[in-house]
Symmetry: C2
Subunit: 226 residues, 2 copies
Amino acid sequence: MREAYQSDLRHIVDDLLDMADMVGHALEDATTALLEGDLALAERVVTADPHIDARQVELDAKAVELLARQAPVATDLRLLVASLRMSSSLERMGDLAAHIALVARRTHPDAAVPAAHREQIARMSQLGLNALQGASEVIANRDLALAAQVEKQDDELDHLMLEISREISSGGQETYTNAEIIDLTLLIRFYERLGDHAVSLVRRIGFLVTGDSVDTLSEGVDVPEF
Amino acid sequence: MREAYQSDLRHIVDDLLDMADMVGHALEDATTALLEGDLALAERVVTADPHIDARQVELDAKAVELLARQAPVATDLRLLVASLRMSSSLERMGDLAAHIALVARRTHPDAAVPAAHREQIARMSQLGLNALQGASEVIANRDLALAAQVEKQDDELDHLMLEISREISSGGQETYTNAEIIDLTLLIRFYERLGDHAVSLVRRIGFLVTGDSVDTLSEGVDVPEF
């Protein structure tokens, strides 16, 4: 009985890792669709998002069922509550990847990202993906040294968002259409939010490992000022 | 003992209502600061946000403690899990109000919102506030008829976001600086997200009342396409 329970808890962690994997693929594909103007790929990311949502529904149902049936306390209770929160973060990250794909789809066949910013956007996507994969490892192995790295990647994401935003504001050599500015503003915010959610994931594991009494995580005003 | 427990559950609902009240004030003040260029008020909204965050931490700690001590099942368990999610939504709504105040602070003494869009932004704020107050009533009284109204207000918010976005894209009579377009894009997205969170609040109550077995709520790709 207790063994089955421990195995159920492990399954929940496995489900979180599966969700993170699905989100990672969505993010990678969304950025490829965006930068390569690949409409079919953008479509696939959008239509795959409900699968990520469905995984969250399943995971949460399992967690609530365990809460009801096992009345866990201490670490197990904290793990289940943290899992409910982490599944929300992952579901939201999936939405953000789908939003990126929607921008790619809407602007097709035009490029949503002006040539001058392609490298920056590719880098933002890579940082987001690294942060997500780092968060997965932290969830799997509770390796808090890696957690610091995820936070660092998020700082670089924030920095890139500000840099792009300032370049657009100052105009510089580039000229932008109004629609391009709207799209770029949304895109850099989507990538930046992906990084925030990755940070939120690793902080929840941090609370679990260090036994901090705060099960919750208030993320504060997390948008760096443009 | 059971009476104390029922009273603890009621306190959690009261805490949610308090949080909603704090968020409502923050939203109202943020929009006033934005449209009136009131720097001191913007500052107050930003510095008040940690109080909303702290309320979430307290509420969540109480909910987790009840989970541990009472091992609730059925409706009580569902209420606690839903409360953990609703407190997250409210905390995030507080952040969004603070983001609006940050835009007001950053652009001061210039107006962040061009004259042509002031009325639309004021309307978006009012719709967000109505949706939040509607959600509070739904939480307090479980009045699902009101829930439909909150969803309708959110539709109007989405519509206004698209309208402003299209007006900026098409240029029309207005000319915008690049920085103005960035700020407006962010602002309309902040208001739109506030509406999404209000919808999420009423849907959670809907699940509780109707006894839907799905405790979780997947919000899908919730950004209407620009």
